[in-house]
Protein backbone atom coordinates (compact mmCIF):
# COMPACT_ATOMS: atom_id res chain seq x y z
CA UNK A 1 0.00 0.00 0.00
CA UNK A 2 1.51 3.33 -0.97
CA UNK A 3 1.91 5.69 1.99
CA UNK A 4 -0.59 8.53 2.01
CA UNK A 5 1.00 11.96 1.73
CA UNK A 6 1.17 13.92 4.99
CA UNK A 7 -0.79 16.83 3.60
CA UNK A 8 -2.97 16.85 0.53
CA UNK A 9 -4.77 20.02 -0.50
CA UNK A 10 -7.05 20.03 -3.53
CA UNK A 11 -8.71 23.06 -5.13
CA UNK A 12 -8.91 24.97 -1.88
CA UNK A 13 -10.98 28.17 -2.02
CA UNK A 14 -11.74 30.53 0.85
CA UNK A 15 -13.64 33.76 0.46
CA UNK A 16 -14.61 36.25 3.13
CA UNK A 17 -17.50 38.56 2.43
CA UNK A 18 -16.79 38.82 -1.29
CA UNK A 19 -12.98 38.85 -1.05
CA UNK A 20 -11.28 35.69 -2.22
CA UNK A 21 -8.33 35.13 0.12
CA UNK A 22 -7.39 31.71 -1.21
CA UNK A 23 -8.16 30.88 -4.80
CA UNK A 24 -7.91 27.28 -5.98
CA UNK A 25 -4.73 26.12 -4.26
CA UNK A 26 -3.60 22.56 -4.85
CA UNK A 27 -0.47 20.98 -3.42
CA UNK A 28 0.75 17.96 -1.52
CA UNK A 29 3.53 17.41 0.95
CA UNK A 30 5.23 14.06 1.49
CA UNK A 31 6.06 12.59 4.90
CA UNK A 32 9.15 14.02 6.55
CA UNK A 33 9.39 16.90 4.12
CA UNK A 34 9.92 20.54 5.11
CA UNK A 35 7.86 22.92 3.00
CA UNK A 36 8.42 26.67 2.94
CA UNK A 37 5.42 28.86 2.35
CA UNK A 38 6.26 32.20 0.78
CA UNK A 39 4.15 35.11 -0.23
CA UNK A 40 3.73 38.85 0.24
CA UNK A 41 1.49 40.18 3.01
CA UNK A 42 -2.13 39.28 2.47
CA UNK A 43 -1.32 36.53 -0.01
CA UNK A 44 -3.38 33.99 1.92
CA UNK A 45 -0.59 32.15 3.78
CA UNK A 46 -2.14 32.39 7.23
CA UNK A 47 -5.61 31.66 5.91
CA UNK A 48 -4.36 28.50 4.19
CA UNK A 49 -2.61 27.37 7.36
CA UNK A 50 -5.69 28.00 9.45
CA UNK A 51 -7.77 25.92 7.08
CA UNK A 52 -5.18 23.12 7.26
CA UNK A 53 -5.51 23.06 11.05
CA UNK A 54 -9.30 22.99 10.89
CA UNK A 55 -9.61 26.33 12.69
CA UNK A 56 -11.33 27.96 9.74
CA UNK A 57 -13.74 26.16 7.42
CA UNK A 58 -12.93 26.33 3.70
CA UNK A 59 -15.43 27.68 1.19
CA UNK A 60 -14.73 24.77 -1.15
CA UNK A 61 -12.04 22.21 -1.87
CA UNK A 62 -10.67 19.56 0.45
CA UNK A 63 -7.77 19.06 2.78
CA UNK A 64 -6.48 15.69 3.99
CA UNK A 65 -3.99 15.41 6.83
CA UNK A 66 -2.37 11.94 6.81
CA UNK A 67 -5.36 10.74 4.83
CA UNK A 68 -7.92 12.17 7.29
CA UNK A 69 -10.31 14.74 5.81
CA UNK A 70 -10.19 17.89 7.95
CA UNK A 71 -13.70 19.07 7.14
CA UNK A 72 -15.59 15.90 8.11
CA UNK A 73 -13.32 14.55 10.89
CA UNK A 74 -11.83 17.68 12.47
CA UNK A 75 -11.01 16.09 15.82
CA UNK A 76 -9.20 13.15 14.28
CA UNK A 77 -7.25 15.49 11.96
CA UNK A 78 -6.32 17.81 14.83
CA UNK A 79 -4.61 14.89 16.61
CA UNK A 80 -2.12 14.77 13.74
CA UNK A 81 -1.18 18.44 13.85
CA UNK A 82 1.03 20.64 15.98
CA UNK A 83 0.25 24.26 15.21
CA UNK A 84 1.93 27.51 16.10
CA UNK A 85 -0.13 30.49 14.94
CA UNK A 86 1.14 33.85 13.76
CA UNK A 87 2.57 35.99 16.59
CA UNK A 88 2.58 32.88 18.79
CA UNK A 89 -0.19 33.68 21.29
CA UNK A 90 0.50 32.37 24.81
CA UNK A 91 -1.33 32.88 28.09
CA UNK A 92 0.49 35.58 30.08
CA UNK A 93 0.05 34.29 33.61
CA UNK A 94 1.10 30.65 33.49
CA UNK A 95 4.44 29.02 34.11
CA UNK A 96 6.19 27.33 31.18
CA UNK A 97 5.94 23.82 32.63
CA UNK A 98 2.30 24.34 33.67
CA UNK A 99 1.42 25.52 30.20
CA UNK A 100 3.07 22.52 28.58
CA UNK A 101 1.34 20.19 31.02
CA UNK A 102 -2.06 21.72 30.26
CA UNK A 103 -1.49 21.54 26.51
CA UNK A 104 -0.24 17.98 26.78
CA UNK A 105 -3.41 16.96 28.60
CA UNK A 106 -5.53 18.65 25.94
CA UNK A 107 -3.60 16.79 23.27
CA UNK A 108 -4.43 13.52 25.01
CA UNK A 109 -1.00 12.49 26.16
CA UNK A 110 -1.31 10.03 29.03
CA UNK A 111 -0.43 11.52 32.43
CA UNK A 112 2.37 9.06 33.02
CA UNK A 113 4.13 9.83 29.73
CA UNK A 114 3.60 13.57 29.94
CA UNK A 115 6.24 14.35 32.59
CA UNK A 116 9.18 12.72 30.75
CA UNK A 117 7.94 14.11 27.44
CA UNK A 118 7.86 17.68 28.82
CA UNK A 119 11.43 17.26 30.09
CA UNK A 120 12.40 16.04 26.64
CA UNK A 121 10.95 19.02 24.73
CA UNK A 122 12.30 21.47 27.30
CA UNK A 123 15.73 19.98 26.69
CA UNK A 124 15.25 20.03 22.92
CA UNK A 125 14.18 23.68 22.86
CA UNK A 126 16.76 24.73 25.49
CA UNK A 127 14.08 25.91 27.91
CA UNK A 128 15.24 24.10 31.05
CA UNK A 129 16.41 27.33 32.69
CA UNK A 130 13.03 29.03 32.39
CA UNK A 131 10.71 26.10 33.07
CA UNK A 132 9.41 27.69 36.29
CA UNK A 133 9.16 31.23 34.93
CA UNK A 134 5.90 32.95 34.09
CA UNK A 135 5.39 33.17 30.34
CA UNK A 136 4.45 36.87 30.43
CA UNK A 137 7.93 37.68 31.75
CA UNK A 138 9.88 35.77 29.10
CA UNK A 139 11.77 37.44 26.25
CA UNK A 140 10.54 37.09 22.70
CA UNK A 141 13.06 34.37 21.84
CA UNK A 142 12.02 32.22 24.78
CA UNK A 143 8.33 32.72 24.03
CA UNK A 144 8.93 31.63 20.46
CA UNK A 145 10.68 28.50 21.69
CA UNK A 146 7.83 27.79 24.11
CA UNK A 147 5.51 27.94 21.08
CA UNK A 148 7.69 25.48 19.17
CA UNK A 149 7.97 23.18 22.20
CA UNK A 150 4.20 23.20 22.45
CA UNK A 151 3.83 22.38 18.74
CA UNK A 152 6.13 19.33 18.91
CA UNK A 153 4.91 18.23 22.36
CA UNK A 154 2.55 15.49 21.24
CA UNK A 155 4.95 14.30 18.49
CA UNK A 156 2.41 14.91 15.74
CA UNK A 157 3.30 13.78 12.21
CA UNK A 158 2.53 17.26 10.84
CA UNK A 159 3.77 20.57 12.23
CA UNK A 160 2.47 23.88 10.95
CA UNK A 161 4.23 27.07 11.97
CA UNK A 162 3.18 30.52 10.87
CA UNK A 163 6.24 32.80 10.80
CA UNK A 164 8.24 31.04 13.53
CA UNK A 165 11.21 33.41 13.29
CA UNK A 166 9.40 36.74 13.22
CA UNK A 167 10.98 39.33 15.52
CA UNK A 168 13.94 37.20 16.60
CA UNK A 169 17.58 38.28 16.59
CA UNK A 170 19.99 36.47 14.21
CA UNK A 171 21.38 34.24 16.94
CA UNK A 172 17.91 33.08 17.97
CA UNK A 173 16.94 32.59 14.33
CA UNK A 174 19.90 30.23 14.04
CA UNK A 175 18.70 28.22 17.06
CA UNK A 176 15.15 28.01 15.72
CA UNK A 177 16.43 27.00 12.30
CA UNK A 178 18.52 24.21 13.76
CA UNK A 179 15.53 23.08 15.75
CA UNK A 180 13.36 22.90 12.64
CA UNK A 181 16.12 21.14 10.70
CA UNK A 182 16.37 18.55 13.48
CA UNK A 183 12.76 17.57 12.79
CA UNK A 184 13.56 16.70 9.18
CA UNK A 185 12.68 13.15 8.25
CA UNK A 186 10.67 12.54 11.42
CA UNK A 187 7.91 15.09 11.00
CA UNK A 188 6.40 16.98 8.13
CA UNK A 189 6.86 20.69 8.66
CA UNK A 190 5.23 23.64 6.95
CA UNK A 191 6.67 27.03 7.78
CA UNK A 192 5.79 30.41 6.38
CA UNK A 193 8.23 33.25 6.45
CA UNK A 194 9.23 36.53 4.93
CA UNK A 195 12.89 35.88 5.55
CA UNK A 196 13.95 34.19 2.36
CA UNK A 197 17.45 32.91 3.17
CA UNK A 198 15.77 31.27 6.15
CA UNK A 199 13.41 29.29 3.94
CA UNK A 200 16.17 28.51 1.49
CA UNK A 201 18.35 27.01 4.17
CA UNK A 202 15.77 24.89 5.99
CA UNK A 203 13.21 23.88 3.40
CA UNK A 204 13.27 21.01 0.94
CA UNK A 205 10.61 22.58 -1.17
CA UNK A 206 9.18 26.07 -1.56
CA UNK A 207 5.68 27.15 -2.46
CA UNK A 208 5.20 30.75 -3.50
CA UNK A 209 1.68 32.11 -3.37
CA UNK A 210 0.38 35.50 -4.32
CA UNK A 211 -3.16 36.79 -4.17
CA UNK A 212 -4.46 33.41 -3.17
CA UNK A 213 -2.86 31.48 -6.04
CA UNK A 214 0.19 29.25 -6.22
CA UNK A 215 2.57 31.10 -8.53
CA UNK A 216 5.55 28.79 -8.28
CA UNK A 217 6.61 25.64 -6.48
CA UNK A 218 9.61 23.34 -6.37
CA UNK A 219 13.04 23.13 -4.80
CA UNK A 220 14.89 26.46 -4.58
CA UNK A 221 17.18 25.36 -7.46
CA UNK A 222 14.21 24.42 -9.68
CA UNK A 223 12.54 27.71 -8.97
CA UNK A 224 15.62 29.66 -9.99
CA UNK A 225 15.74 27.92 -13.33
CA UNK A 226 12.01 28.01 -13.93
CA UNK A 227 11.18 31.53 -12.83
CA UNK A 228 14.27 33.48 -13.78
CA UNK A 229 15.20 31.39 -16.83
CA UNK A 230 18.68 32.87 -17.20
CA UNK A 231 22.10 32.93 -15.61
CA UNK A 232 24.07 36.06 -14.94
CA UNK A 233 27.85 36.67 -15.07
CA UNK A 234 29.66 39.67 -13.71
CA UNK A 235 33.02 40.71 -15.09
CA UNK A 236 35.53 43.47 -14.65
CA UNK A 237 37.03 44.05 -18.04
CA UNK A 238 39.34 46.55 -19.79
CA UNK A 239 39.59 46.90 -23.59
CA UNK A 240 37.62 48.08 -26.60
CA UNK A 241 33.99 47.35 -25.87
CA UNK A 242 32.75 47.71 -29.47
CA UNK A 243 34.52 44.43 -30.31
CA UNK A 244 32.89 42.62 -27.40
CA UNK A 245 29.43 41.68 -28.84
CA UNK A 246 30.77 39.62 -31.79
CA UNK A 247 33.12 37.76 -29.46
CA UNK A 248 30.23 36.94 -27.14
CA UNK A 249 27.94 35.92 -30.01
CA UNK A 250 30.58 33.49 -31.25
CA UNK A 251 30.75 31.97 -27.80
CA UNK A 252 27.02 31.61 -27.12
CA UNK A 253 24.25 33.22 -29.22
CA UNK A 254 22.05 34.13 -26.27
CA UNK A 255 24.83 35.87 -24.35
CA UNK A 256 24.03 39.56 -24.00
CA UNK A 257 25.41 42.60 -22.28
CA UNK A 258 22.85 43.80 -19.80
CA UNK A 259 24.67 46.63 -18.04
CA UNK A 260 28.07 48.24 -18.39
CA UNK A 261 29.61 50.68 -15.97
CA UNK A 262 32.02 53.60 -16.39
CA UNK A 263 35.76 52.76 -16.59
CA UNK A 264 37.67 53.32 -13.35
CA UNK A 265 41.22 54.75 -13.01
CA UNK A 266 42.82 51.61 -14.46
CA UNK A 267 40.36 51.42 -17.37
CA UNK A 268 38.31 48.48 -16.01
CA UNK A 269 34.53 48.45 -16.30
CA UNK A 270 31.98 46.38 -14.53
CA UNK A 271 29.89 44.43 -17.04
CA UNK A 272 26.89 42.19 -16.46
CA UNK A 273 26.12 39.47 -18.99
CA UNK A 274 23.02 37.33 -19.15
CA UNK A 275 22.43 34.07 -20.97
CA UNK A 276 19.61 31.59 -21.27
CA UNK A 277 22.06 28.69 -21.24
CA UNK A 278 22.21 26.83 -18.01
CA UNK A 279 25.66 25.27 -18.38
CA UNK A 280 28.73 26.90 -16.90
CA UNK A 281 30.25 29.47 -19.27
CA UNK A 282 33.04 30.71 -16.99
CA UNK A 283 35.93 28.90 -18.58
CA UNK A 284 35.01 29.69 -22.24
CA UNK A 285 34.57 33.33 -21.25
CA UNK A 286 38.00 33.41 -19.65
CA UNK A 287 39.56 31.98 -22.82
CA UNK A 288 37.69 34.25 -25.21
CA UNK A 289 38.44 37.42 -23.30
CA UNK A 290 42.18 36.81 -23.12
CA UNK A 291 44.81 39.46 -23.88
CA UNK A 292 45.77 41.27 -26.03
CA UNK A 293 42.20 42.38 -27.00
CA UNK A 294 40.83 42.38 -23.46
CA UNK A 295 42.17 42.30 -19.96
CA UNK A 296 39.95 40.47 -17.50
CA UNK A 297 40.34 41.22 -13.79
CA UNK A 298 37.36 39.41 -12.28
CA UNK A 299 34.71 36.96 -13.39
CA UNK A 300 31.90 35.54 -11.32
CA UNK A 301 28.66 33.79 -11.89
CA UNK A 302 25.92 35.48 -9.92
CA UNK A 303 23.76 33.11 -7.91
CA UNK A 304 20.24 34.46 -7.95
CA UNK A 305 18.88 34.37 -4.43
CA UNK A 306 15.47 33.15 -3.54
CA UNK A 307 14.65 36.80 -3.12
CA UNK A 308 15.07 37.37 -6.87
CA UNK A 309 12.92 34.32 -7.56
CA UNK A 310 10.28 35.54 -5.14
CA UNK A 311 10.18 39.03 -6.63
CA UNK A 312 10.09 37.65 -10.18
CA UNK A 313 7.36 35.14 -9.36
CA UNK A 314 5.11 37.58 -7.57
CA UNK A 315 5.66 40.23 -10.24
CA UNK A 316 4.80 37.69 -12.91
CA UNK A 317 1.53 36.89 -11.16
CA UNK A 318 0.76 40.61 -10.95
CA UNK A 319 1.27 40.86 -14.71
CA UNK A 320 -1.04 37.92 -15.26
CA UNK A 321 -3.83 39.39 -13.18
CA UNK A 322 -3.59 42.85 -14.71
CA UNK A 323 -3.67 41.27 -18.18
CA UNK A 324 -6.80 39.36 -17.15
CA UNK A 325 -8.39 42.55 -15.89
CA UNK A 326 -7.65 44.37 -19.14
CA UNK A 327 -9.29 41.61 -21.14
CA UNK A 328 -12.50 42.17 -19.21
Amino acid sequence: MPETPAIEVAHLVKSYAGVTAVNDITFRVGRGEILGFLGPNGAGKSTTMRILTGYLPATSGCVHICGVPVASQPNEAKRHIGYMPENNPLPEDMRVSEYLYFRGRLKEIARRQLGPRIDEVLELCDLKRVRHKIIGQLSKGFRQRVGIAEAILAEPPVIIMDEPTIGLDPHQILIVRDLIASLRGRMTVIISSHILPEIEMTCDRVLIINQGRVVAQGTPADLRREVLGHSTYQLELAGDLSTLPPVLAALEPTLQIRTQGEPDADGFRRITLTTERDAELGEPLLRALAPPAFRLRALSRAHPTLEDVFLAATRRSWDVTTAELRKK
Binding site: L56, K78, Y83, P85, P91, M94, E150
Partner: protein, 253 residues
Protein backbone atom coordinates in the same frame (compact mmCIF):
# COMPACT_ATOMS: atom_id res chain seq x y z
CA UNK B 1 -16.57 15.68 27.33
CA UNK B 2 -13.15 14.05 27.63
CA UNK B 3 -11.35 17.35 28.13
CA UNK B 4 -13.95 19.02 30.32
CA UNK B 5 -12.13 18.43 33.62
CA UNK B 6 -8.75 19.43 32.17
CA UNK B 7 -10.29 22.69 30.97
CA UNK B 8 -12.22 23.21 34.20
CA UNK B 9 -9.18 22.83 36.46
CA UNK B 10 -7.22 25.11 34.13
CA UNK B 11 -9.95 27.76 34.24
CA UNK B 12 -10.28 27.62 38.03
CA UNK B 13 -6.53 28.03 38.34
CA UNK B 14 -6.60 30.99 35.93
CA UNK B 15 -9.41 32.64 37.91
CA UNK B 16 -7.51 32.12 41.16
CA UNK B 17 -4.35 33.79 39.88
CA UNK B 18 -6.17 36.75 38.34
CA UNK B 19 -6.31 40.03 40.25
CA UNK B 20 -9.81 40.74 38.95
CA UNK B 21 -11.19 37.83 40.96
CA UNK B 22 -9.82 39.19 44.22
CA UNK B 23 -11.05 42.67 43.39
CA UNK B 24 -14.53 41.31 42.76
CA UNK B 25 -14.38 39.28 45.98
CA UNK B 26 -13.20 42.26 48.00
CA UNK B 27 -15.98 44.54 46.74
CA UNK B 28 -18.50 41.80 47.29
CA UNK B 29 -17.52 41.08 50.89
CA UNK B 30 -17.19 44.77 51.74
CA UNK B 31 -20.68 45.48 50.43
CA UNK B 32 -22.32 42.42 51.95
CA UNK B 33 -20.62 43.04 55.29
CA UNK B 34 -21.84 46.61 55.23
CA UNK B 35 -25.41 45.46 54.52
CA UNK B 36 -25.24 42.87 57.26
CA UNK B 37 -23.97 45.28 59.91
CA UNK B 38 -26.67 47.82 59.06
CA UNK B 39 -29.28 45.05 59.33
CA UNK B 40 -27.93 44.14 62.76
CA UNK B 41 -28.00 47.78 63.84
CA UNK B 42 -31.62 48.20 62.88
CA UNK B 43 -32.50 44.95 64.69
CA UNK B 44 -30.75 46.11 67.85
CA UNK B 45 -32.72 49.37 67.84
CA UNK B 46 -36.24 48.05 67.35
CA UNK B 47 -37.90 44.64 66.83
CA UNK B 48 -38.61 43.85 63.15
CA UNK B 49 -41.27 41.73 61.50
CA UNK B 50 -39.11 39.76 59.07
CA UNK B 51 -36.02 37.66 59.79
CA UNK B 52 -32.55 39.09 59.02
CA UNK B 53 -32.02 36.55 56.21
CA UNK B 54 -34.99 37.87 54.31
CA UNK B 55 -33.63 41.40 54.58
CA UNK B 56 -30.16 40.27 53.58
CA UNK B 57 -31.25 38.73 50.28
CA UNK B 58 -33.28 41.83 49.36
CA UNK B 59 -30.03 43.43 48.23
CA UNK B 60 -28.73 40.51 46.18
CA UNK B 61 -29.10 42.47 42.91
CA UNK B 62 -26.41 45.00 43.69
CA UNK B 63 -23.44 42.63 44.07
CA UNK B 64 -24.76 40.56 41.16
CA UNK B 65 -24.66 43.60 38.88
CA UNK B 66 -20.94 44.19 39.35
CA UNK B 67 -19.63 40.81 40.47
CA UNK B 68 -20.94 38.68 37.61
CA UNK B 69 -19.38 40.92 34.92
CA UNK B 70 -16.06 40.94 36.81
CA UNK B 71 -16.00 37.14 37.02
CA UNK B 72 -17.05 36.44 33.44
CA UNK B 73 -15.81 39.35 31.31
CA UNK B 74 -12.37 37.83 30.92
CA UNK B 75 -13.27 34.30 30.01
CA UNK B 76 -13.72 34.36 26.23
CA UNK B 77 -12.88 38.00 25.39
CA UNK B 78 -9.34 37.68 26.75
CA UNK B 79 -8.70 34.44 24.88
CA UNK B 80 -9.74 36.09 21.69
CA UNK B 81 -7.73 39.25 22.30
CA UNK B 82 -4.54 37.28 23.01
CA UNK B 83 -5.28 34.87 20.16
CA UNK B 84 -4.98 31.84 22.45
CA UNK B 85 -8.46 30.74 21.36
CA UNK B 86 -6.77 29.70 18.11
CA UNK B 87 -4.29 27.38 19.82
CA UNK B 88 -7.04 26.12 22.11
CA UNK B 89 -9.42 25.19 19.29
CA UNK B 90 -6.74 23.55 17.16
CA UNK B 91 -6.34 20.82 19.78
CA UNK B 92 -8.93 18.01 19.76
CA UNK B 93 -11.37 19.93 22.01
CA UNK B 94 -14.80 21.13 20.95
CA UNK B 95 -16.16 24.64 21.38
CA UNK B 96 -18.83 23.21 23.69
CA UNK B 97 -16.20 21.83 26.07
CA UNK B 98 -14.37 25.16 26.10
CA UNK B 99 -17.50 27.21 26.82
CA UNK B 100 -18.79 24.77 29.46
CA UNK B 101 -15.40 24.64 31.18
CA UNK B 102 -15.27 28.41 31.47
CA UNK B 103 -18.89 28.64 32.54
CA UNK B 104 -18.55 26.00 35.25
CA UNK B 105 -15.39 27.57 36.64
CA UNK B 106 -17.03 31.02 36.91
CA UNK B 107 -20.17 29.53 38.43
CA UNK B 108 -18.24 27.58 41.07
CA UNK B 109 -16.39 30.73 42.06
CA UNK B 110 -19.67 32.65 42.26
CA UNK B 111 -21.13 29.98 44.52
CA UNK B 112 -18.01 29.98 46.70
CA UNK B 113 -18.20 33.75 47.21
CA UNK B 114 -21.88 33.62 48.15
CA UNK B 115 -21.27 30.55 50.29
CA UNK B 116 -18.69 32.50 52.27
CA UNK B 117 -21.40 34.96 53.40
CA UNK B 118 -22.89 32.11 55.43
CA UNK B 119 -20.12 32.99 57.90
CA UNK B 120 -22.06 36.21 58.73
CA UNK B 121 -24.98 34.16 60.00
CA UNK B 122 -22.66 31.80 61.82
CA UNK B 123 -21.07 34.74 63.65
CA UNK B 124 -24.51 36.11 64.50
CA UNK B 125 -25.61 32.80 65.96
CA UNK B 126 -22.35 32.28 67.83
CA UNK B 127 -22.34 35.67 69.50
CA UNK B 128 -26.03 36.49 69.94
CA UNK B 129 -26.87 33.05 71.22
CA UNK B 130 -30.40 33.72 70.07
CA UNK B 131 -31.81 31.15 67.62
CA UNK B 132 -34.76 33.38 66.73
CA UNK B 133 -32.50 35.40 64.42
CA UNK B 134 -31.72 32.32 62.41
CA UNK B 135 -34.89 31.26 60.74
CA UNK B 136 -33.64 28.34 58.59
CA UNK B 137 -36.49 28.62 56.02
CA UNK B 138 -35.60 32.00 54.50
CA UNK B 139 -31.88 31.27 54.87
CA UNK B 140 -31.96 28.02 52.88
CA UNK B 141 -34.48 29.45 50.40
CA UNK B 142 -32.32 32.54 49.90
CA UNK B 143 -29.17 30.57 49.19
CA UNK B 144 -31.10 28.23 46.91
CA UNK B 145 -32.36 31.25 44.96
CA UNK B 146 -28.80 32.59 44.65
CA UNK B 147 -27.59 29.22 43.34
CA UNK B 148 -30.40 28.86 40.81
CA UNK B 149 -30.45 32.44 39.54
CA UNK B 150 -26.64 32.45 39.42
CA UNK B 151 -26.83 29.78 36.70
CA UNK B 152 -28.56 32.25 34.40
CA UNK B 153 -26.56 35.35 35.35
CA UNK B 154 -23.21 33.66 34.82
CA UNK B 155 -24.43 32.21 31.51
CA UNK B 156 -25.39 35.73 30.40
CA UNK B 157 -21.91 36.91 31.38
CA UNK B 158 -20.25 34.16 29.34
CA UNK B 159 -22.48 35.03 26.40
CA UNK B 160 -21.52 38.73 26.62
CA UNK B 161 -17.86 37.74 26.74
CA UNK B 162 -18.24 35.59 23.63
CA UNK B 163 -19.44 38.59 21.64
CA UNK B 164 -16.48 40.87 22.07
CA UNK B 165 -12.69 40.86 22.25
CA UNK B 166 -12.76 43.80 24.62
CA UNK B 167 -13.26 42.98 28.31
CA UNK B 168 -14.82 46.35 29.13
CA UNK B 169 -17.40 45.98 26.38
CA UNK B 170 -18.20 42.45 27.60
CA UNK B 171 -18.60 43.67 31.20
CA UNK B 172 -20.91 46.54 30.26
CA UNK B 173 -22.95 44.30 27.99
CA UNK B 174 -23.29 41.70 30.74
CA UNK B 175 -24.33 44.29 33.36
CA UNK B 176 -26.92 45.78 30.99
CA UNK B 177 -28.38 42.36 30.19
CA UNK B 178 -28.74 41.50 33.87
CA UNK B 179 -30.14 44.95 34.58
CA UNK B 180 -32.69 44.58 31.79
CA UNK B 181 -33.63 41.12 33.03
CA UNK B 182 -34.20 42.22 36.61
CA UNK B 183 -35.37 45.83 36.46
CA UNK B 184 -36.59 46.04 32.86
CA UNK B 185 -39.01 43.15 33.30
CA UNK B 186 -40.10 44.37 36.72
CA UNK B 187 -40.83 47.84 35.28
CA UNK B 188 -42.66 46.27 32.34
CA UNK B 189 -44.75 44.16 34.73
CA UNK B 190 -45.72 47.26 36.69
CA UNK B 191 -46.51 49.48 33.73
CA UNK B 192 -49.99 49.88 32.31
CA UNK B 193 -48.75 49.45 28.73
CA UNK B 194 -49.59 45.74 28.83
CA UNK B 195 -53.11 46.14 30.14
CA UNK B 196 -54.79 45.83 26.75
CA UNK B 197 -56.64 42.61 25.90
CA UNK B 198 -54.39 41.73 22.90
CA UNK B 199 -51.25 41.90 25.00
CA UNK B 200 -52.58 39.54 27.65
CA UNK B 201 -50.23 36.63 26.74
CA UNK B 202 -47.23 38.99 26.94
CA UNK B 203 -48.43 40.17 30.33
CA UNK B 204 -48.65 36.57 31.58
CA UNK B 205 -45.15 35.83 30.28
CA UNK B 206 -43.70 38.95 31.88
CA UNK B 207 -45.38 38.10 35.18
CA UNK B 208 -43.67 34.71 35.16
CA UNK B 209 -40.25 36.25 34.60
CA UNK B 210 -40.10 38.54 37.64
CA UNK B 211 -36.73 37.95 39.29
CA UNK B 212 -37.75 39.83 42.46
CA UNK B 213 -40.95 37.80 42.85
CA UNK B 214 -38.90 34.64 42.46
CA UNK B 215 -36.57 35.82 45.22
CA UNK B 216 -39.48 36.49 47.57
CA UNK B 217 -41.04 33.12 46.80
CA UNK B 218 -37.78 31.27 47.43
CA UNK B 219 -37.20 33.23 50.64
CA UNK B 220 -40.64 32.20 51.83
CA UNK B 221 -39.67 28.61 51.15
CA UNK B 222 -41.75 28.12 48.00
CA UNK B 223 -39.76 26.31 45.31
CA UNK B 224 -41.80 26.49 42.13
CA UNK B 225 -40.70 24.21 39.29
CA UNK B 226 -41.86 26.80 36.74
CA UNK B 227 -39.33 29.22 38.18
CA UNK B 228 -36.61 26.59 38.16
CA UNK B 229 -37.46 25.88 34.55
CA UNK B 230 -37.23 29.60 33.73
CA UNK B 231 -33.64 29.79 34.98
CA UNK B 232 -32.56 26.45 33.56
CA UNK B 233 -33.93 27.08 30.08
CA UNK B 234 -32.50 30.61 30.11
CA UNK B 235 -29.10 29.17 31.05
CA UNK B 236 -29.17 26.56 28.31
CA UNK B 237 -30.20 29.17 25.75
CA UNK B 238 -27.48 31.63 26.79
CA UNK B 239 -24.84 28.88 26.64
CA UNK B 240 -25.96 27.73 23.21
CA UNK B 241 -25.72 31.32 22.03
CA UNK B 242 -22.23 31.61 23.54
CA UNK B 243 -21.08 28.53 21.63
CA UNK B 244 -22.59 29.95 18.46
CA UNK B 245 -20.98 33.31 19.27
CA UNK B 246 -17.52 31.75 19.46
CA UNK B 247 -18.06 29.76 16.27
CA UNK B 248 -19.53 32.70 14.35
CA UNK B 249 -16.46 34.72 15.26
CA UNK B 250 -14.36 31.90 13.83
CA UNK B 251 -16.17 32.11 10.56
CA UNK B 252 -15.66 35.84 10.21
CA UNK B 253 -12.34 36.45 11.93
Amino acid sequence: MKHFFTLLSHEIRMLLVSAGTYLAAMFFFAFMGFIFTSILESYSKAPQEVSPAQFFFQFFWFPVLFMVPMLTMKCLAEERRLGTIETLLTTPVTTTEVVLGKYTAAYLLYLTLWGATAAFFFILKRFSGDVRFLDPGPLIGGYLFIAVSGLLFIALGVFASSLSRNQAVAAILCASMIFALMFGLSWLGGSSALNREVLQPVRVAVDYAQVFTHRDDFARGIVDTRQLLFYLSGTVLALIFSILGVEAKLLHS
